[in-house]
Amino acid sequence: MNKWKKKQPAAIKSFKRPTLAGDGFGGRAGFFLSRAVNNIRQNIFVNVVTVGTITLALLIVSLFMLVFVNLESATESWSERVQVTVYFDKELTNPDQSAFREKISALSGVSRVSYVSRDEALKRFKIRLQGQEALLEGIRPEVLPTSFEIALKRSHRDTASVESFVTELKRIPGITEVQYGEEWVRRFNSFLNFMRLLGVLLGGFLVIAAIFIVSNTIKLTIYSRREELEVMALVGATRFFIKAPFLLEGLIQGFVGSVLSIILLFGLYEGFLQNAGSFLTFNPVSSGLSFLSLEYIAGLLLAGSMLGFLGSLTSLKRFINV
């Protein structure tokens, strides 16, 4: 024993710790990133499965979003027809016109006020009755009423707002006859509400299903690598050190998955535009269909990345017991 003991001091010196080359945040981030990329390369099958799941889940959600957004913009254009008309039985003089216009515009919710003179009214009437001009014989502009057509702002097109607007309108002296197609407004709004409710329910359901599927897939992939987590913990890795590459991996998976889903969605959309004419009665190209706006696409990318990141985060909690 003594013979050996003499050697000790010299030997101990040799295990002095070298300076850290990858010190500081930059060095560490680079290390974690290269580690994450390596992990993806080494577990390529598992990663393909995860990215595929994320892609499909997001594709379903974004497909629904695309349909919903387009339906919304369609109903948007329909709701332009929510319009309040004030009738007068005489032609208004110019000062009268601007006085009324001013008073009406002062009410909240008004987006546009336009005056329809007798001549204008007759012109429209003629257009309505195209092909049956015989009916118009003998009709002169004087029998038609003049009117103000009032378009409402988007936020004021629901039933209650329209009704309260009409009450306000009737308080203006000189205005007696107001029409706004009560029944139509009511039906249209209840249809709109129903559709939105359906959209929120269905969309919510899809999103929850997507989160559930993705988080479970990630959980399984991390479960398949629990040994790695265990070994890292046993050789003295801190929790952050173990987690960071996995979280980056999740982030990358989520981002790649969302990019793929957007590409696929765009492919589907284009394919639909090319081919829909043959089995639909309308031409989709000219019907004002649009792809998701940039905001939605950015949102999808963010959602995908967060999905991967948070999925990894919650799954890791289970398997790291340092």
Partner: protein, 230 residues
């Protein structure tokens, strides 16, 4: 270096794994832990690297009471302890080099230093030619040496080994034993759990025998007479 005071451990209420263990292992000592299966050898080792906390008693490593340390301090403790597991716990889809280097990566070493140090230890273990093979393609003896390399690469103060010669032939056993001895000479405190009597007899080191969770015998082999220390 390692002190256990009145340590008791029970996995379930009525089945105790360790009972009132008092053990003192000095710096630079080499100790064999023996006893039949289920005697508590593995449990004792797991206490030392804080994979388990005792129900009662204190465990001190290098003067630090590890039954009282916070979770975030456990990694720091483990960096000064090399562990060789019964089932090796190697990453099957990683290369030999990666398996060993991981112990230095967690310390935050630079790439170049990790490369040098890892190849150095692999050379010591005589497996440097296999550095680029995945561990699943190695023989049992080679895997054992990778596990040892990983445990020793950061020059730990303490080396713990659980049945390190379990499935090895005699030639391999001797080589492994020599590696332990070398580490011990360089100042590492070594604790080896085994029920391989021949290994113990060959090495002439302190022996602690456990049975049913209690220390039943302690002897210093070098005194040859089976003299009890405690």
């Amino acid at each position: 270096m390692i002190q256990l005071h009145n340590v008791s451990l029970a996995y379930q209420q009525d089945a105790s794994a360790l009972n009132n263990i008092d053990l003192n292992i000095g710096k630079g000592e080499f100790v064999f832990l023996t006893g039949p299966s289920g005697a508590g050898k593995t449990s004792l080792l797991r206490l030392l690297y804080a994979a388990l906390t005792p129900n009662r008693g204190q465990v001190l490593i290098d003067g630090q009471n590890i039954t009282r340390i916070s979770r975030s301090q456990i990694p720091l403790l483990r960096r000064s302890i090399g562990v060789v597991f019964q089932d090796f716990k190697l990453l099957q889809n990683r290369t030999v080099f990666e398996n060993v280097a991981i112990a230095l990566e967690v310390l935050g070493w630079g790439r170049a230093d990790i490369g040098k140090k890892t190849m150095h230890i692999l050379k010591q273990m005589g497996i440097e030619s296999k550095y680029n093979l995945t561990t699943q393609r190695l023989s049992g003896g080679e895997q054992q040496r990778v596990a040892l390399a990983r445990a020793l690469v950061n020059d730990p103060k303490i080396l713990l080994a659980d049945e390190p010669t379990g499935n090895l032939d005699d030639a391999n056993k001797n080589q492994i034993l020599n590696i332990f001895k070398d580490a011990n000479i360089r100042g590492t405190t070594v604790v080896v759990a085994t029920h391989d009597r021949r290994l113990i007899e060959q090495s002439h080191k302190r022996l602690v025998t456990l049975n049913k969770g209690e220390i039943v015998e302690q002897m210093e082999k070098e005194t040859a007479s089976g003299h009890q220390i405690l």
